[in-house]
C-alpha cells in the first residue's frame, strides 16, 4: 500500500534528534567550522551516551544475505522486528545534518566501517569490533578505500594484503587517502578502520577484500589530515600501512578470491542513501532559512497562482522545495526497500546522485537569494553550501552513481559501459 506516513519509531527518532540538532549542533556549528578538525566535546560526549544504547548491527538489510544458521521463517521475523532501521537512520541523519553536517560526521559511532562489519561480518567479528561502541570512552569507525591513484575506480586498488602462513597474519602495505574520521578512529580513540586491499592483483576486482585494522596497530600511521572546502569538523585522513600485521580472522567476508568484490560493493547500497539523507538535511536548513527570512520581510510565496505570475524569487523557492522533496522521496524509497529486504542497488544510486546534485544547487540558490548576506560568514548559508558539496562527491561521485544507474538500466557490465 503506497503510504507516506513516517512509522512511529522514525517519527520519534526525528523528533528527539531535532532537539539535539537545534539546541546543541547549531550552537557549535560556526565554532566547529572555524576550528578545523577539533572535536566538540559537548556534542561528542552527549552523542556517545545516546549511541551506547543503540544496536549498531541494525543497519543494513537490503543486500544482506540470509544467514545460513537460521530458518527462512526466523529470518523473516527478525527482519520484521528490525523493519524500518534504514529509513529511521535516514530520517535521523537528515535531522543531524540539518543541525550541522560537519558535526554529524564527527558523531562517535562505527560509521561506514561498522556498516561493512554488520553487512558481511561474522557474529564473532561483530562481537569483537562493534560491541566496544557500547562501553567506555567515545570511539569512531572508519572506512579506507580511496588511494592517491584510485578513487572511484576501486578495482585499481594497489594496497596489498599478503597472508603470512607462518604466523597466520595478513600483512598490509599501501597508502589510503580521504578516510573520513580516520584519525579519530585509529589515533584519537580505540576504534578501527576497514581497509580495502587486494590479495591477488592479477584477479582484478575479485582479488579485493576488506580487512579490519584495529586502532594503534603497529605499521599503520596517519600521515596527513586534509584541509577541506567544507565539513571542517570532520577529519579526513591519509593513512600509510607499512608491513602492518593483523590477525587472519580480521578479513571480512569470504577469503576466496572468486567472490569478494560484490560483497564489498553491496555495502554502498546501504550507505549511499545515508549520504543522500545528509544532503537533505543541509538543503532543508537552507530552504527554511530563506523562507523564514522572506516571511519576516513580508515576501509571500504564493502556491497555486498562475506560474506565469510568479516572481523570480517565488520560482526559485518553489523549485528548491520541489527538488528537495523529490530527492527525499527517492531516498525514502531506497531505504524502505532495504528495510523490506528488496535489492536496491539502482534506487540507492538514483537517490544519491539526485540528492547530491540537487542539494548543492539548492544551497547555491539559497546563498544567491540572500544577496551579500548569503556570502557572509555572519550567516550559516555559505557554510551549508560548502558542506553540501561533499555529498555529490563521497560514497561515489554523482557521475559514478549515474554510471551505476545507466548500467542497471541498460543491463550492461562495467566492460560494456565504461
Amino acid at each position: 500500500m503506497i503510504d507516506f506516513e513516517l512509522p512511529k519509531g522514525a517519527a520519534f527518532a526525528k523528533q528527539m534528534t531535532h532537539g539535539v540538532a537545534e539546541g546543541l549542533m547549531r550552537k557549535w556549528a560556526r565554532w566547529a567550522d572555524d576550528n578545523e578538525h577539533e572535536h566538540v566535546e559537548e556534542y561528542v560526549n552527549m552523542m556517545y551516551e545516546v549511541s551506547k544504547s543503540m544496536d549498531p548491527g541494525a543497519f543494513g538489510g537490503g543486500s544482506k544475505k540470509k544467514e545460513k544458521k537460521e530458518g527462512a521463517q526466523e529470518d523473516k521475523k527478525k527482519k520484521k522486528k528490525r523493519g524500518g532501521m534504514n529509513l529511521q537512520m535516514a530520517v535521523t541523519i537528515e535531522e543531524l545534518s540539518w543541525g550541522d553536517a560537519g558535526l554529524y560526521l564527527q558523531t562517535p559511532n562505527p560509521a561506514l566501517g561498522g556498516a561493512a562489519v554488520s553487512a558481511v561480518g561474522t557474529d564473532e567479528q561483530k562481537e569483537k569490533f562493534l560491541k566496544r561502541f557500547s562501553t567506555g570512552k567515545p570511539k569512531w569507525g572508519a572506512m579506507a578505500i580511496t588511494e592517491p591513484g584510485a578513487g572511484s575506480d576501486t578495482a585499481s586498488i594497489t594496497t596489498t594484503a599478503v597472508l603470512d602462513k607462518e604466523t597466520n597474519e595478513w600483512v598490509i602495505n599501501g597508502e589510503k587517502i580521504f578516510v573520513t574520521q580516520g584519525k579519530s578512529a585509529i589515533e584519537d580513540s580505540e576504534g578501527f578502520v576497514v581497509v580495502w586491499a587486494t590479495v591477488d592483483r592479477k584477479a582484478g576486482r575479485a582479488g579485493i577484500k576488506s580487512f579490519v585494522v584495529d586502532h594503534h596497530t603497529p605499521g599503520m600511521k596517519v600521515t596527513k589530515v586534509e584541509e577541506k572546502l567544507g565539513i571542517l569538523a570532520s577529519d579526513t585522513a591519509a593513512i600509510v600501512f607499512e608491513d602492518c600485521r593483523i590477525p587472519y580472522e580480521n578479513i571480512l567476508g569470504d577469503p576466496e578470491v572468486k567472490t569478494g568484490f560484490k560483497g564489498a560493493m553491496a555495502t554502498f547500497d546501504n550507505t549511499r542513501p545515508m549520504v543522500a539523507a545528509s544532503a537533505l538535511g543541509i538543503g532543508r536548513a537552507s530552504i527554511e532559512f530563506v523562507k523564514e527570512t522572506f516571511e519576516k520581510e513580508g515576501i509571500p510565496i504564493r502556491y497555486g497562482i498562475s506560474p506565469n505570475k510568479l516572481t523570480a524569487r517565488e520560482r526559485d523557492v518553489m523549485w528548491m522545495e520541489a527538488q528537495l522533496q523529490a530527492a527525499r522521496l527517492l531516498t525514502w524509497k531506497a531505504t524502505s526497500m532495504a528495510d523490506a529486504g528488496i535489492p536496491n542497488s539502482l534506487e540507492s544510486s538514483m537517490c544519491k546522485s539526485k540528492a547530491g546534485l540537487a542539494v548543492t544547487l539548492v544551497c547555491q540558490k539559497a546563498v544567491e537569494l540572500m544577496g551579500p548576506l548569503g556570502y557572509s560568514k555572519k550567516l550559516l548559508l555559505e557554510k551549508w553550501l560548502r558542506d553540501a558539496k561533499i555529498n555529490d562527491i563521497f560514497e561515489g561521485t554523482g557521475q559514478i552513481n549515474m554510471l551505476v544507474v545507466a548500467r542497471r538500466i541498460f543491463g550492461y557490465s562495467s566492460k560494456e559501459l565504461k
Binding site: 500500500m1 503506497i2 503510504d3 507516506f4 506516513e5 513516517l6 512509522p7 522514525a10 529509513l87 502556491y303 497555486g304 497562482i305 498562475s306 506560474p307 506565469n308 505570475k309 518553489m318 522545495e321 520541489a322 527538488q323 522533496q325 523529490a326 530527492a327 522521496l329 527517492l330 525514502w332 524509497k333 524502505s336 526497500m337 538514483m350 546522485s353 539526485k354 557521475q399 549515474m402 554510471l403 544507474v405 545507466a406 538500466i409 541498460f410 550492461y412 560494456e416 559501459l417 565504461k418
Partner: protein, 368 residues
C-alpha cells in the same frame, strides 16, 4: 509506514490499464494524431473496462468501487504511457461526473450520475482553461452573477476536452471576485442559449483529442445548476485532483519516451558499437529514468494527501510544476537520443515532444 508499493488491487487495475494502453492506445497513437481524432469505438471499449465508471456509487446504479487519487494516478500514468490524447479523451467524462459525486447536491447526483453507469461512453466534459496569456485558476475571467433565481455566465473558455461533441459541460466561473474559494461550477447543457461551441481547436499537440473553445454570452442557468447548490464546491481541491491526474499523465508519457530512447540507444550502432556504450548517451538516459521516478514520487505523495483528505494545494502544485518541466526535458532528450531520426514523425518521440509542451498550460483537463 513509508511504502512505494501499490496494493494488490491497485496493481491489478494498473496492469489492466497498461494492457489496454499497450494493446489499444499505442498502436493507434500515430494514426489518431495524424488524423486528429479518436475513433468512438476506442472510447467505447475503454468505457467498457470501467476506467471512469467503476467508482460510481451503488445508490446511483454504479459498481461502487472506492475512489482513490493514488489509484487514479496509477491509471493516468499507464494510459498516457499508451497515448496522451486518447488517455485524456477516455477520462474526460470524469471531469463532469466526479465533481458531482463529491460535491453535488442529492438532486444533482440523482439527475446526472446514473447515466455514467450506462453501457455507452458519456459525452460530458468540463471547461476550466481560458484563452489568455497569464491564465490563472485563482483569477478566472469567466464570471457568474446571481440574478434572482438564476445565474448569468459570461466569458470564454478553451482546451475543453471533447468539447465539440459534448452534451454536458461543467463550466467554472468566478462568482464574487478572485480566489479559489470564489469559483463555482455550473452545469451547462449543449444548446443553452448564449453558448457557442467552436469547431475543434488546432494545437501544437494532443491533436487526437479534439478540444473546443466555448463562448458564453449571458448564458442563464437555474440556481440548482450550480455544483453543490448554494454550498458550492471546493474548487481548490478539484484542481489538486487535476494536477495529480495531469502530472501522472506527464509521468506516463515521459516513461514512454524514456523506454523508447533506452531501447533505441541499445540497438543503434555508431563507430562499431551501440550508442548506449557512450556515457554522453547513457547518462542522458539514466537521468531521464531518475527524473521520471522523482516526479512520480512527488505526485504519489500529493495523491496520498488527497486520499487522506489533507490540504494538498502546495504539494500538488509543486508536484505538477515539477512534472511539467520534467516531461518537457525528458521528451526533449527522447528526440535527442534518436538524433535526426527523432525529428521524423515516424518515430513517436516527436509526437511526445509536441504533447509534452502542453502540460505547463493544461489545467483542469483531467481528474483522478
Amino acid at each position: 509506514m513509508i511504502s512505494f508499493e501499490p496494493s494488490e488491487e491497485q496493481r491489478m487495475i494498473r496492469d489492466t490499464a497498461l494492457d489496454f494502453a499497450a494493446g489499444e492506445l499505442r498502436p493507434n497513437s500515430h494514426e489518431c494524431d495524424e488524423k486528429g481524432e479518436i475513433p468512438e469505438a476506442l472510447l467505447q471499449s475503454a468505457w467498457e473496462l470501467g476506467m471512469v465508471n467503476a467508482c460510481m456509487p451503488e445508490e446511483h446504479g454504479g459498481v461502487g468501487m472506492e475512489r482513490s487519487a493514488i489509484t487514479g494516478a496509477l491509471m493516468c500514468e499507464e494510459l498516457a504511457y499508451g497515448d496522451l490524447s486518447i488517455a485524456m479523451g477516455i477520462l474526460t467524462p470524469a471531469l463532469f461526473a466526479y465533481p458531482i459525486m463529491e460535491f453535488g447536491t442529492e438532486e444533482q447526483k440523482k439527475a446526472y450520475l446514473p447515466r455514467f453507469s450506462e453501457a455507452s461512453f458519456q459525452k460530458a466534459t468540463a471547461a476550466v482553461v481560458e484563452p489568455v496569456m497569464d491564465f490563472d485558476l485563482a483569477e478566472l475571467t469567466c464570471t457568474a452573477k446571481k440574478d434572482g433565481s438564476s445565474y448569468v455566465i459570461n466569458g470564454e473558455k478553451c482546451f475543453v476536452p471533447l468539447g465539440a461533441r459534448a452534451d454536458l459541460f461543467m463550466v467554472y466561473a468566478a462568482l464574487d471576485g478572485p480566489g479559489y474559494e470564489n469559483v463555482a461550477g455550473f452545469i451547462v447543457e449543449k444548446g443553452a442559449r448564449g453558448l457557442t461551441v467552436s469547431e475543434p481547436e488546432s494545437n501544437m499537440g494532443i491533436k487526437a483529442m479534439d478540444t473546443a473553445e466555448l463562448k458564453l454570452e449571458n448564458v442563464e442557468v437555474a440556481a440548482d445548476a450550480r455544483l453543490g447548490g448554494d454550498a458550492g464546491c471546493d474548487f481548490a481541491k478539484l484542481m489538486n485532483y487535476s494536477r495529480v491526474a495531469l502530472g501522472s499523465m506527464a509521468v506516463g508519457m515521459a516513461r514512454a519516451s524514456f523506454d523508447y530512447a533506452r531501447d533505441y540507444a541499445k540497438e543503434r550502432e555508431a563507430f562499431g558499437e551501440p550508442i548506449a556504450h557512450r556515457q554522453a548517451v547513457a547518462f542522458m538516459v539514466a537521468e531521464m529514468a531518475i527524473e521520471v521516478d522523482a516526479a512520480r514520487c512527488l505526485l504519489w505523495e500529493a495523491a496520498w494527501m488527497l486520499d487522506k483528505d489533507k490540504d494538498a494545494l502546495r504539494e500538488s502544485y509543486l508536484a505538477k510544476m515539477y512534472a511539467d518541466r520534467m516531461v518537457m526535458w525528458v521528451c526533449d532528450c527522447g528526440v535527442q537520443v534518436l538524433g535526426g531520426h527523432g525529428y521524423i514523425r515516424e518515430h513517436p518521440v516527436a509526437l511526445w515532444f509536441r504533447n509534452a509542451r502542453g502540460f505547463a498550460s493544461f489545467e483542469g483537463m483531467a481528474t483522478v
